[in-house]
């Protein structure tokens, strides 16, 4: 099956070349960081996690989002997802590889990374996160490959693989739950110390992952002659809509708790994210545009989806716009605001703002490009198999 990645149209090769360029830039930036240390990033003593960890957090969600295809297809036997379930599994693989790369990029001593295994520490949530992330990655590789191979031979997949498919369902939930637990179990970080973080992560994941799959389907429909089917896309938009609404609802609950209780610790981060935090005569607000942008994107995207449902129209372009808006709103919410906002103010009630450096951005973009590179190859294989069956 692998040979399928070697044959493609010129758009395919151009796309890979563009990604390859970004990967090269990212690699060069990483070499610089490796030689000098994390001082090349914008992180500081006060904001000690930056883009790397925030992208990691967001991408764990994207990986978990594949569940929204696996669950209906395998558990509820929803046939319309038959063609695209494999896309969910392959998206999980590339998202998890990005996650692991972001973690490595963030380590101060990357060569000692294996210490997490040598000195396994079960009371650290990071240990469990490593376990479930690797577990989910391997499960998806296994299930994706076995099922695709069977599909290609046009036989039923072997029975034993379903055991792993069913195991992967709670695993998908666990990866994002445990990732939430990295944050929500820390005393003294009020913005994170909330039991709703895990459910909110899951809700946003179940919107972000499917949004990306919808976008991939639209792109492949145009460029790769792959039609996921109108019914499947429509069902996905319904899933995205409900998940995004639940995420918004959870977020508004955080607002209520903060602003109705008026407990300073519960308000400060929200204030910093949405209105700017005044401190010692200076207003800190560099994330405000992102958060309001996310709000606007989210409501517009939801509005478009709702409009399509109510007036029973279906238009691929509208779906594309809505999925893009929702994807970016969730990215700004979790991939920026959630992590950076949690560090403001610091435990000594001081404010330090975080602005990523060019080198850091280079690495971040490089890792995203690597993920999309892998995703492209995997989808190329999936679509190639699909075409082979059709002909």
């Amino acid at each position: 099956m692998i040979e399928k990645v070697l044959k493609g149209k010129s758009t395919y090769w151009m796309w890979l070349a563009v990604l390859g360029t970004f990967i090269a830039i990212g690699a060069a930036c990483y070499v610089r960081q490796y030689m000098f240390g994390l001082g090349l990033t914008g992180m500081s003593r006060d904001v000690s996690w930056g883009l790397y960890i925030s992208q990691f957090t967001f991408l764990v969600g994207v990986a978990a989002g594949g569940l929204m295809l696996v669950l209906p297809y395998y558990v509820h036997d929803y046939k319309a997802f038959g063609k695209i379930t494999i896309l969910g599994e392959f998206l999980a693989i590339s998202a998890l590889i990005m996650c692991l790369m972001f973690i490595m990029a963030d380590l101060g001593q990357p060569l000692r990374g294996l210490n997490v295994i040598f000195f396994a520490t079960p009371h650290s949530m990071l240990f469990w996160d490593m376990c479930v992330l690797w577990g989910y990655l391997l499960l998806n590789c296994l299930c994706g490959w076995v099922i695709l191979t069977a599909e290609r031979k046009q036989v039923h997949p072997p029975k034993w693989i379903y055991i792993f498919v069913y195991i992967s369902i709670p695993f998908a939930v666990s990866i994002h739950t445990v990732t939430a637990m990295l944050y929500c179990g820390l005393p003294g970080r009020h913005f994170w110390l909330s039991a709703i973080i895990a459910p909110r992560f899951l809700a946003s994941a179940f919107a972000a992952g499917p949004s990306l799959i919808v976008l991939a389907c639209l792109v492949m429909r145009k460029f790769a002659n792959f039609d996921a089917g109108k019914e499947a896309i429509q069902k996905l938009t319904t899933i995205i809509m409900y998940a995004a609404i639940i995420n918004t609802f959870f977020f508004l609950l955080e607002f209520f708790v903060g602003y109705y209780s008026e407990m300073p610790g519960h308000m400060h981060s929200l204030e910093y994210l949405f209105f700017g935090l005044e401190h010692d005569g200076h207003v800190y607000n560099n994330l405000v545009p992102f958060m309001w942008g996310a709000t606007l994107f989210s409501f517009t995207g939801l509005g478009i989806l709702a409009y399509m449902k109510i007036s029973k129209v279906f238009d691929y372009r509208l779906v594309g716009v809505a999925a893009t808006l929702i994807f970016f709103s969730l990215w700004a919410d979790k991939g920026l605001g959630f992590v950076f906002g949690g560090f403001v103010p610091n435990p000594l009630n001081e404010v330090t703002e975080y602005i990523p450096t060019a080198n850091e951005l280079g690495i971040t973009i490089g890792i995203w490009a690597t993920g999309f590179f892998i995703l492209t190859l995997l989808y190329k294989i999936a679509v190639g198999v699909e075409h082979e069956i059709e002909s």
Binding site: M43, S48, L107, Q109, L126, P187, N349
Partner: protein, 269 residues
């Protein structure tokens, strides 16, 4: 738990009595691992509870004394910086701090009030790692590179094991930890060959001068501030220790006790 604890305190008390006549420093470092004289203490306190709880080192910071002598805190900080090869970075982003100064409002944000004493308004407060009894940094660390020394309760670091994930920095509710964003060595003012320098990419913080205690010395900051009575260091589990006498007499506060980490550093304000 309570009966267990009381029983332990009794044993520890008896053990301390057995140490009467020994130089004061013995009680300070009363643990087999950090001072040889303490072996006797350990044996005396031998028992199922004592082995687990043992000595619990702590500190009282008397801010009244520091306010009276403003230069004293600077000297204590300088002493720590010097013995521990703490680099001096000009920018806030790279800062490495083991003990430093901050206003009351920042050290005790939960206890901040409008009408506080002149001293709380003006004097800079000393801030350092609390060597918590239930440290969230230790709970978070995925490699045990930060850990509790069972013999004295110090929350210590293994710089050679730390992978630099900075989970402990997010977990510490007191902002006590610093990360080496770049090679710190060029930024060390005066080099002390007795203490290791750190490499880039690892976390560090106050170690309660574990290396000095092992030699029978007091922490460097305490050595400076002790004569003025501004800092008292000792075994919190020993009811006859100097620190316990101070704690019995004076009303003290701790930083953010609501975090549940049970800090071992107490402040007299």
């Amino acid at each position: 738990m309570d009966t267990k604890r009381r029983k332990f305190l009794k044993i520890a008390g008896a053990a301390a009595l057995a140490g009467i006549g020994a130089p004061a420093i013995v009680k300070l470092t009363s643990s087999a691992a950090i001072a040889s004289e303490a072996v006797q203490h350990e044996t005396a306190a031998h028992g199922e509870v004592a082995a687990a709880t043992g000595v619990r080192l702590g500190m009282v910071i008397d801010m009244r004394k520091f306010a009276e002598q403003p230069e004293l805190l600077d000297q204590a900080i300088a002493a720590c910086n010097k013995v521990h090869n703490i680099p001096h970075f000009p920018d806030r982003k790279n800062e490495i701090k083991w003990i430093w100064k901050a206003p009351y409002a920042n050290v005790f944000p939960e206890l901040e009030s409008i009408h506080k004493s002149e001293m709380a308004k003006k004097a800079p407060f000393a801030v350092l790692c609390n060597h918590c009894d239930n440290p969230s940094c230790v709970k978070a660390c995925p490699t045990k590179a930060t850990f509790v020394q069972p013999e004295n309760g110090i929350v210590a670091m293994d710089f050679h094991r730390c992978i630099g994930c900075r989970f402990c920095m997010a977990a510490c509710p007191y902002g006590a930890r610093s990360f080496n964003w770049q090679d710190p060595r060029p930024f060390i003012d005066t080099y002390n060959a007795e203490f290791p320098t750190r490499m880039r990419g690892v976390v560090e913080k106050c170690n309660f001068c574990g290396e000095r205690l092992a030699l029978g010395l007091e922490p460097a900051c305490v050595e400076v501030a002790k004569s003025a009575g501004a800092m008292v260091f000792g075994d919190l589990n020993d009811p006859d220790s100097e620190i316990r006498k101070v704690l019995d007499k004076e009303f003290t506060i701790q930083r953010n006790p609501a975090a549940g980490t049970k800090p071992s550093v107490y402040y007299i304000v």
